[in-house]
């Protein structure tokens, strides 16, 4: 009897959880469905659910809009570029702090984190001014550098928490065997650090891809990524729901997939180790 009750309860929890899950996911599902409708079907009253003539014309239409491929390219370059640049600077720093901690390591880490909490509007005008002086306004390199800087504290912090989990005994063993510092780093530590570095890269590409303050305000035409491209739909002309949906799906699909793979890293990366 006890088993039967458990199964019954399990079915009940399942139904409840699925209902909430689908409700939360619904806006994305609806966007997905709408992206395959014609503009007329998209605003049909009553709404059409699954039984309509599925068409990919919106995806073709969006791809043909002159600035879509450019926006996609910009998003990729900015997200990947800023992440890799950040990794390049953060790996040595996190490495040193994890393996050769000094008296002030904790203070340095906390100070880095505090830079992340600086409100963007506090430095908005100087940044616009500096960008204009340097002649890099509306350029990809500007966005790569700015997004690298705002995400650097998270990158350092995540790498630090990963590196700290690598046991120190392994290093000592390698040293006993006569390994030099460089071979110690190359052959012993690097293989152990790769998973941590990979998840850090993944989470930071997601954060950079979705960043929507600097990417909107520091770009106009040339460097505008998908966030800014989508924002241009806020002043609609005529029927556009299906096209907006198609553009939205194109902008979020790759990140959604990456995000699902990085759920666990999300907790670690965004709580700075405060929740385990």
């Amino acid at each position: 009897m006890a088993r039967a009750i458990t199964t019954q309860k399990k079915v009940m929890w399942t139904a409840l959880a699925w209902a909430f899950g689908l409700a939360i996911f619904f806006p994305i599902l609806w966007t997905f469905l709408t992206s395959f409708k014609t503009e007329a079907t998209a605003i049909a009253d009553p709404p059409v659910w699954f039984l309509f003539d599925w068409t990919t014309e919106n995806y073709t239409a969006v791809q043909e809009r002159s600035n879509y491929p450019k926006a996609l390219m910009n998003s990729i370059i900015i997200a990947v570029g800023s992440t890799l640049l950040g990794i390049l600077i953060a790996v040595p720093a996190a490495w040193a702090m994890a393996f050769v901690p000094g008296r002030r390591t904790k203070d340095v880490l906390l100070w880095m984190l505090s830079t992340k909490m600086l409100p963007a509007v506090g430095v908005l005008y100087p940044l616009v001014l500096l960008a204009k002086w340097l002649g890099v306004m509306d350029s990809r390199i500007l966005l790569v550098v700015v997004l690298m800087l705002i995400n650097l504290p998270i990158i350092v912090w995540m790498l630090y928490t990963y590196f700290r989990e690598i046991p120190g005994e392994i290093l000592e063993a390698a040293r006993m065997d006569g390994a030099s510092l460089s071979s110690e780093i190359l052959y012993v530590l690097t293989p152990m650090a790769v998973p941590g570095i990979a998840s850090t890269i993944l989470l930071n590409i997601i954060l950079a891809w979705n960043e929507a303050f600097w990417t909107i305000l520091l770009t106009t035409v040339n460097a505008a990524p998908l966030t800014a491209f989508i924002a241009s739909f806020s002043a609609p002309e005529g029927l556009f729901y299906a096209k907006l949906s198609a553009a939205s799906m194109l902008a979020i699909a790759p990140i959604l997939v990456m995000g699902w793979f990085s759920q666990k890293q999300l907790v670690r990366g965004l709580t700075f180790g405060a929740v385990k």
Binding site: K10, W13, W18, F20, G21, I24, F25, P27, I28, T31, I43, D45, P46, I89, P92, W95, A96, M97, F99, V100, P101, G102, K106, S114, T115, M117, L118, P119, V121, G122, V123, L124, Y125, P126, L127, L130, L152, V156, G168, L181, I206, W209, N210, A212, F213, I216, T227, I230, A231, S234, P236, Y241, Q263, V267, L270, T271, F272, G273, A274, V275
Partner: protein, 288 residues
């Protein structure tokens, strides 16, 4: 094993990260501080390097500051209440035995990965729109008048949009905390006949308090800077102008850089008050 040699090597390895962050933080912030004491209006060609605290006085005493501050507080409070209460309930729900738990998790976490401009425009057009939005169809179907969300309740509409984006974050972190709860303690309480509500009140909630605090602090820091969602929905109109948005308008739209910079410094100070609490918790955790 840390020798003097490896210590100096460590310093060299840390230096680039410290240097770029120091430059990033100091130069623009000092410029903002400098402008905040100046009468600087580039469009009119006005530049007076020192006018004392005039900008601060004008910014703080303007009616737009008070209303922006109140809007900001309502927005942050609204989003926090939805995400924390919803997050706790969802975390407890997802922790129950069920079929397809992994898949439900994926459904729940998804909104967090949607870029802000997409979620704002999808909600604005396909849900809130008074003529063609889903909510209007729903209202009509139930026999009510369609409701124009973004012009009748603009603040609430933005709260819903942003809460939808952040609910997954709260849920995921609270779920992590729920799963670290010692189940023996709960079972013992259940055997002793403690009803579900008191088990929640006296065992689960205290266990979650730290995670809840962390979620509140981290979200507050991000929520104080909400920008894109307002930018593409109301553009700051109808009582949705937050402090961040007000500073943006002063600095870039009306190009009163001095006044806007004073507002920017005030925003920095307010964010720091919250940041200090967060840093304390994070710092404590670093020790063990």
């Amino acid at each position: 094993m840390a020798t003097a040699h490896s210590k100096s090597a460590a310093r060299i390895m840390i230096a680039p990260a410290v240097f770029v962050l120091l430059v990033w933080m100091l130069i623009p912030l000092l410029m903002t501080l400098y402008f905040s004491f100046a009468d600087y209006r580039p469009l009119r060609g006005t530049f007076d390097a020192w006018i004392g605290f005039d900008n601060y006085v004008r910014f703080l005493t303007s009616s737009s500051f008070m209303s922006a501050l109140i809007t900001t507080l309502w927005m942050v409070a609204g989003i926090l209440s939805i995400t924390i209460i919803g997050g706790v309930l969802l975390a407890l729900l997802l922790d129950q035995p069920m079929y397809g738990q992994g898949f439900v998790r994926i459904l729940v976490i998804a909104p967090f990965f949607v870029m802000p401009t997409v979620s704002a425009l999808v909600w604005k057009n396909m849900f809130f729109n008074v003529d063609n939005g889903l909510f209007s169809y729903l209202f009509k179907g139930l026999g009510f008048q369609p409701y124009d969300f973004l012009s009748q309740s603009p603040l609430l509409s933005i709260i819903v949009i942003v809460a939808w984006q952040w609910l997954p974050f709260a849920t995921l972190i609270l779920l992590t905390a729920v799963q670290s709860l010692d189940s023996e303690q709960l079972e013992a309480a259940e055997m002793d006949g403690a009803p579900a509500l008191s088990r929640f009140r006296f065992i689960i909630l205290p266990h979650l308090s730290r995670a809840i605090t962390v979620v509140i602090l981290i979200q507050t820091i991000f929520l104080l800077s909400i920008f894109a969602e307002i930018f593409v929905t109301t553009n700051g109109a109808f009582g949705t102008r937050t402090l961040t948005y007000l500073v943006y308008q002063r600095v870039l739209e009306s190009q009163n850089v001095g006044l806007g910079s004073a507002g920017g410094i005030i925003a920095v100070i307010l964010a720091n008050v919250i940041a200090i609490f967060l840093m304390r918790i994070v710092g404590k955790n670093l020790d063990n």
